[in-house]
């Protein structure tokens, strides 16, 4: 097997790893300073405000163009997800009702009954399944 110290691929991977560690440590040190916090929060505060204004403007523009905004699309996707969820719930309920009434031949199979809550840990003589 080739010695790792002479393997160019291993040397390259090691170098990337060391560079990552070194840069992270250096940046973390710099980020601990109060000056960093001051600058980041000044810039962050301004950009958050500007972003909000821009997104409000875009929203108005999209409304005027009769187009949906990203927020509306996300909201629609979430509503669809929620409808899907509710359909699943209804399906689960129907399965339950069907099961209780004794499902006719060809109907939905009844959901498996819940397993008994009698399991014991292996140390207490229970069996690990």
């Amino acid at each position: 097997m080739a010695d790792k110290s002479n393997d160019p691929v291993a040397i390259w991977q090691n170098m990337i790893g060391e560079m990552e560690k070194g840069f992270n440590a250096f940046a973390n040190k710099a980020m601990e300073s109060p000056e960093f916090s001051k600058v980041v929060n000044q810039v962050g505060g301004v950009s958050a405000g500007a972003q909000k204004q821009l997104s409000d403007m875009m929203e108005k523009y999209l409304v005027s163009m009769n187009l949906p905004s990203r927020a509306q699309m996300v909201s629609m996707a979430e509503r669809l997800q929620s409808i899907e969820g509710q359909l699943n719930e209804i399906k689960a309920l129907l399965h339950q009702i069907h099961g209780q009434a004794g499902a006719p031949a060809g109907g939905y199979p009844a959901p498996p009954p819940r397993p008994p809550r009698t399991r014991r840990p292996p140390s207490a003589g229970g069996e690990q399944k």
């Binding site: 097997m1 080739a2 010695d3 110290s5 002479n6 393997d7 691929v9 991977q13 990337i16 790893g17 560079m19 990552e20 840069f23 992270n24 940046a27 973390n28 980020m31 601990e32 300073s33 109060p34 960093f36 916090s37 001051k38 980041v40 929060n41 000044q42 962050g44 505060g45 958050a48 405000g49 972003q51 909000k52 927020a71 996300v74 909201s75 979430e78 997800q81 929620s82 969820g85 509710q86 699943n88 719930e89 689960a92 819940r114 397993p115 008994p116 809550r117 009698t118 399991r119 014991r120 840990p121 292996p122 140390s123 207490a124 229970g126 690990q128 399944k129």
Partner: protein
């Protein structure tokens, strides 16, 4: 072998051949990577018990013939999606629990809508969690419930457990849960009260955008994203590596926005005033003192956690009122503690042996 250089001369042609093959594979797989989507995550069969705004309660279908008496409610962190605990078959914590005979429920979160910006800490601790616990009790027919909280889900579970110390929480498991927020040094600096105007931020944006949450996580290790992309390119010939990269990358970038009022409380009460550690925390006028929690507790922490450093998590076991308490420190980071190869080998079996004895 060349004794002076340590270089195995005979292996050089083989190495060159292997590298050429990898280079060809990189080109083919690189195109495949762009053209295909990642593996489907969070696919363990489950039923949705309840959806209310940002709150989602799932029940996973049991996989064992016999299950433990006490059901589990997992409380997910509000910044991230719950599928980190249900990646793919064979690498899913949920699947592991189900196969070991636990009855598992999960309180997961979706992005709060703009009109949910007024959701406050009390909505999470005094409404969402108790509501889910009630539904778990109803659905399972059991009074006792084990609560598992991941990261900030652990903080919410601690607040819930300290306010409702009389029950029905029977056991508590926390993963990498911060208590002493002074020790989250970089987050402390990002939210320095002299420069960070949280009121102005919340009043202008409503909910805290996910990009902001993601960039604050990424700032903790600013070189890691670029380095991971270099590593991905090197390993793109390796299907298992690519699958794993895609799963974790998708989860890490799938950050949720945070409800404005809730974030305001986190910043002021926890980051600035460190109220949980100082025993002065209250939620909706109800005192939340973690020394009031007396149920058995297991706290799993990661040795190399860059998001919740050990010093921030350490006081949990010291301050909690339980007599039956254990902290377990495992190798790995914030995410690899609960998902990935280390978790499968270390955390999951440990948790099973601890919880099994307390779930009958």
């Amino acid at each position: 072998m060349n004794a002076t250089s340590g270089l195995d001369l005979a292996s050089i042609p083989e190495r060159i051949q292997a590298e050429v093959q990898r280079a060809i594979q990189r080109s083919i797989k690189g195109v495949e990577y762009i053209a295909t989507s990642g593996p489907s995550l969070g696919s363990t069969p489950k039923d949705i018990l309840s959806v209310r705004g940002t709150m989602n309660l799932y029940h996973y279908r049991p996989m064992a013939d016999e299950i433990y008496r006490i059901p589990i409610l997992i409380v997910m962190a509000t910044t991230n999606r719950g599928y980190i605990l249900d990646m793919v078959p064979g690498q899913s914590f949920i699947e592991f629990l189900l196969k070991r005979g636990y009855d598992v429920y999960m309180l997961d979160w979706t992005a709060p809508k703009p009109e949910e910006k007024s959701l406050a800490m009390e909505d999470y601790v005094l409404d969402f969690i108790p509501d889910c616990v009630r539904q778990v009790q109803q659905d399972s027919g059991e009074t006792d419930v084990t609560v598992i909280g991941y990261c900030f889900g652990g903080v919410l579970s601690l607040l819930y457990g300290s306010i409702f110390a009389g029950g029905p929480m029977k056991n508590l498991i926390c993963f990498t849960t911060p208590v002493d927020f002074r020790e989250m040094k970089l987050f402390q600096n990002f939210s320095d009260r002299r420069y960070f105007d949280v009121d102005r931020l919340i009043d202008s944006v409503g909910n805290v955008p996910p990009e902001m949450i993601l960039s604050s996580f990424e700032m903790l290790r600013p070189a890691s994203r670029a380095a991971s992309q270099v590593q991905l390119w090197e390993n793109i010939w390796n299907d298992e590596y690519v699958k794993s990269y895609r799963m974790f990358d998708r989860w890490a970038t799938d950050t949720l926005p945070l409800a404005g009022e809730y974030f305001r409380t986190i910043t002021k009460d926890l980051m600035w005033d460190n109220k949980l550690y100082n025993d002065t925390m209250s939620v909706g006028g109800r005192k939340a003192d973690i020394s009031k929690i007396t149920v058995p507790i297991l706290h799993a922490v990661a040795e190399h956690d860059h998001i919740v450093p050990y010093d921030a998590a350490k006081p949990l076991i010291q301050k909690i009122g339980s007599a039956d308490k254990e902290e377990v420190m495992l190798k790995g980071g914030h995410v690899s503690l609960v998902a990935g190869a280390n978790a499968i080998k270390r955390l999951w079996p440990k948790l099973d042996s601890w919880l099994g004895e307390r779930s009958t």
